[in-house]
Symmetry: C2
Subunit: 173 residues, 2 copies
């Protein structure tokens, strides 16, 4: 990966996340990255290729976060790790997550199946803890994780710790 190539990626991520993919022109990316516009197409073929390159990096980061949870044996610890997920996202990864969250609402961009392994492992954790409806509990927890991540990405609340503790208490954690 060239230095200019990385600059294109980071600049595009920033602009796509802040202003939207469709609203960001390749010429703007090039100008802001200090690079000729042609270079974008040399390296990434077209504008969508540029987006895919960014999303591929994002997916790798997501996989790392997910695998740590999935490999947890103890059910209570697994649930705790899952609901802490939105709270441990590093600020330097905010742009990446804002972009992926924004793209969810674009047609054909959202794949709910990506969360299936997490959903499965959560369900089994709730089963082990004898919850009445493990499937619904898993779905519910995923909904909350999504809502919490949204809130943290859009307007970091001042009482993060209290919110997390309140949530934990609902699962006796």
């Amino acid at each position: 990966m060239t230095e200019k190539q990385e600059k294109i990626l980071s600049t595009a991520l920033k602009l796509f996340a802040e202003e939207g993919f469709a609203a960001t022109s390749t010429s703007k990316v090039a100008k802001m990255a200090g690079v000729s516009e042609g270079l974008i197409f040399r390296h990434f073929k077209n504008k969508d290729g540029l987006l895919q390159a960014i999303l591929q990096q994002a997916e790798e980061s997501a996989k790392i976060l997910m695998s740590d949870i999935i490999l947890t044996a103890e059910p209570k610890e697994l649930i705790r790790k899952a609901l802490e997920l939105p709270f441990i996202i590093a600020p330097q990864e905010y742009e990446m997550w804002r972009l992926t969250y924004a793209l969810k609402w674009q047609t054909n961009q959202y794949e709910s199946s990506k969360l299936d392994p997490l959903k499965l492992v959560l369900k089994s954790a709730f089963e082990k803890l004898n919850y009445a409806d493990p499937a619904a509990e898993a779905e519910l927890l995923l909904m909350f994780i999504d809502g919490a991540a949204t809130a943290l990405l859009l307007h970091e609340p001042n009482n993060k710790t209290e919110i997390l503790n309140t949530l934990k208490s609902k699962y006796q954690l």
Copy 2:
């Protein structure tokens, strides 16, 4: 409001929600609405004016939903109504909500203050019920409502009722 004016609004809402605001051209809206492109600008001044007209309708719908909750005196009933909110959205309003949710991620579009009255009234309800941290509880519930609405708008799950019941049980409802 003219018939063609309404047709422009409904068509634009559909396209903006499905493909995004920036990705939808005014010519496409006009073509699909069976209207000359110039008429859009006659009625709504510019593309952003068209969006604002749509969002104004959306805000009125939102206010109706909110006011019913806010005017509820009994704290338990208020909380119940709040967490049922995402589950009672009518399918014909999905497009409208998808658009507003998608626009949250665009710069300068999101105003968290819109939820402040709801947050306030929820906090006071949790206070009356002697919850340990009413402010955190209110924030938490709003996060869930957001997550649930997102899930329902993106991929209607098959076990809606079970999820809602599971959630209600966490608040002894």
